[in-house]
């Protein structure tokens, strides 16, 4: 499965380079000839979509920095300056702001794809765990980016999230002051967030490299969850999947462009068009949509430290998923019972997202509590038990049998 190319370059210059630095044969082996399962569906295109979004965020980010001023007295105005004065500034800013949202749309689909097809199971545990780290790093990046325009929601989001660390016993307040560089969220905070917001996407790029490296050691999982057995099961990555990925990327970018051009503020909060005011909290503060399920969990627990622990545990638990799921069968295509629980989990996560956007009281608080409880029950009780209770459907002997039917394979 290593996919190392034995290709002999005809072009003498290419051969000369490759003998000294085998970069061309690596590209050839990993991106052109790479043997890829022949049955991948469109849910497998979100990896390529994610890579595209990371590149878009880095490019738009680098040019935004050419006009942005990371100081509390000027940050808000400099973003308005980008919107009104800078050539194409409005486009670059809306590409970047909506780009973050679409980045998360893609990553959530990508993660649930992995959950459905059991892509986290042996031998892909490390691949999955690097993915979870990428997800957490993405959240940190987006959080710090959102603080930069220094609007009301930027400011109060920063206050609430940094204060999460004050729940840590004994040293909590010390840590929060260290994060702030003062006694409140202020200019030192904005400047360090800017520094880290610039840095983290490049850390992400490095993590993505490791993620793809791990992927190319084990090879892709696939909708049937059966490992590749022979060459019959695979197709070369190029042109079969380069084209399929490209098609999906283009469709995805069209939806993204529709938001950027026709309702660039739809996914945001209008209160962020008001400059930060440290003396007055807006009546209803909510994070960006992609944080809502976690925010709902934080608020579901009526205890400060407890809420913080539950929220972070919901992420940490994903690291242990490969061992929590006791079933040997990867794809839910062959696990009728687990499939129903999968869709229940999807609904629970959506409900958490809706609950996170409501004021934390009354019926919604109760709903958030039940959904939070179910999230943990799913991973800690249901998944371990299902492996013993459930009787999987018969699994085809190979990918080609699954695709072509028994007779032809």
């Amino acid at each position: 499965m290593s996919g190392h190319s034995t290709y002999e370059f005809k072009n003498p210059i290419a051969r000369w380079v490759d003998e000294r630095l085998p970069i061309l044969s690596v590209v050839r082996g990993q991106l052109v000839d790479f043997p890829t399962p022949r049955n991948l569906n469109y849910w497998w295109t979100f990896g390529g979509i994610l890579a595209t979004m990371l590149v878009i965020q880095i490019l738009t980010g680098i040019v935004l920095v050419m006009h942005f001023t990371p100081h509390t007295s000027m940050a808000f105005d400099s973003v308005e300056h980008i919107m009104r004065d800078v050539n194409w500034g409005w486009l670059l800013r809306w590409m970047h702001a909506n780009g973050a949202s679409f980045f998360f749309i893609a990553v959530y689909i990508h993660i649930f794809r992995g959950l459905y097809y059991g892509s986290y199971k042996a031998p892909r545990e490390i691949l999955w765990m690097i993915g979870v780290i990428i997800f957490i790093a993405m959240m940190a990046t987006a959080f710090m980016g959102y603080v930069l325009p220094w609007g009301q929601m930027s400011y109060w989001g920063a206050v609430v999230i940094t204060n999460l660390f004050s729940a840590i016993p004994v040293v909590g307040d010390q840590i929060v002051q260290w994060l702030w560089g003062g006694f409140s969220v202020a200019n030192p905070t904005l400047q360090r967030f800017f520094s880290l917001h610039y840095l983290l996407p490049f850390v992400l790029a490095a993590l993505v490299f490791l993620h793809v490296w791990a992927l190319h050691v084990t090879g892709n999982n696939n909708p049937d969850g059966i490992e590749v057995k022979s060459e019959q099961d695979t197709l070369p990555f190029h042109p079969y999947y380069t084209m399929k990925d490209l098609f999906a990327i283009l469709v995805f970018l069209m939806v993204y462009a529709a938001f950027v051009f026709y309702s660039p503020w739809y996914l945001g909060h209008s209160i962020n068009f008001a400059p930060a005011n440290p003396l007055s909290t807006p009546a209803h503060i909510v994070p960006e949509w992609y944080f809502l399920p976690f925010y709902a969990m934080l608020r579901a627990i009526p205890d400060k430290l407890g809420g913080v622990i539950v929220m972070f545990s919901s992420l940490i638990i994903l690291f242990f998923l490969p061992w929590l799921d006791t079933s040997k069968v990867k794809s839910l295509k062959y696990r009728p019972l687990a499939r129903q629980f999968f869709w229940l989990l999807v609904i629970v996560c959506l409900v958490l997202g809706i609950a996170g956007a409501q004021p934390a009281q009354g019926a919604w608080l109760l709903v958030a509590r039940l959904a939070t409880a179910w999230y943990f029950i799913h991973f800690l009780v249901i998944l371990p038990l299902l492996g013993f209770i459930e009787k999987p459907k018969p699994i085809p002997a190979s990918i080609s049998e699954a695709v072509l039917g028994k007779a032809k394979a």
Binding site: W156, V159, V160, T162, N163, L164, S166, Q177, W178, L179, W180, G181, G182, F183, S184, A186, P188, R192, P278, L279, S280, T281, A283, H284, I285, R299, I301, P302, D303, K304, L305, G307, P359, A360, Q361
Partner: protein, 191 residues
């Protein structure tokens, strides 16, 4: 003879190896500190500012928010009803029984009197001075709201009573009382 020399050599190498490693490790550990500590509050932030405030213009039932060290400070001229409610609340009903008044010892009880005491022990129960930051996750609570005639934090629903003590919701502590003292009967200095 040969063995001896070899052994001597090996232990010399071991020593050099461990010593180099140790100096490298300790040196690196020490060098990390400036990189971490630079993020702590700097000298300009630490230069403690103090703020003077004249209470006289405050009408009964009126509250204002002023800024001290970048934080909101609530100053409220309480009504007799608010004062009475706060005074007759038994300590056993409080979620946080500690005064959280930086002018008092850290274990002082959260009586109404201890919530309005300045650094010199002066008590003027009409005026409540507190840091307007919810002890849950740092939002600024809204005045004259909530179930206890005090403050309500809209962020995650914490209720504080008319002495700024937490009564309901996720916040763990009473609102903090900043260091302050009366310089005359109606003027206070915060900080």
């Amino acid at each position: 003879m040969t063995t001896k020399v070899e052994n001597a050599d090996v232990s010399r190498r071991d020593f050099l190896y461990i010593a180099t490693g140790a100096v490298g490790a300790v040196g690196t550990a020490l060098a990390i500190w400036p990189f971490i500590d630079q993020m702590n509050p700097d000298a300009s932030v630490l230069a403690l500012a103090s703020t003077e405030f004249d209470l006289a213009p405050l009408e009964e039932g009126q509250g204002v928010t002023i800024k001290w060290r970048g934080k909101p400070v609530f100053i409220r001229h309480r009504t007799p009803k608010e004062i009475e409610e706060a005074k007759k609340t038994p300590l056993a009903e409080l979620k946080d029984p500690i005064a959280r008044n930086l002018n008092l010892p850290p274990d002082a009880e959260a009586t109404d009197e201890n919530r309005v005491k300045d650094a010199n022990g002066k008590v003027n129960e009409k005026y409540l001075v507190q840091i307007g930051i919810c002890t849950h996750l740092g939002c600024v609570p809204l005045g004259e709201q909530g179930d206890y005639d005090g403050w309500f934090c809209p962020c995650h629903g914490s209720h504080y009573d008319s002495a700024g003590r937490i009564r309901k919701g996720p916040a763990p502590r009473n609102l903090d009382i900043p260091p302050y003292k009366y310089t005359s009967d109606t003027v206070i200095v915060i900080g």
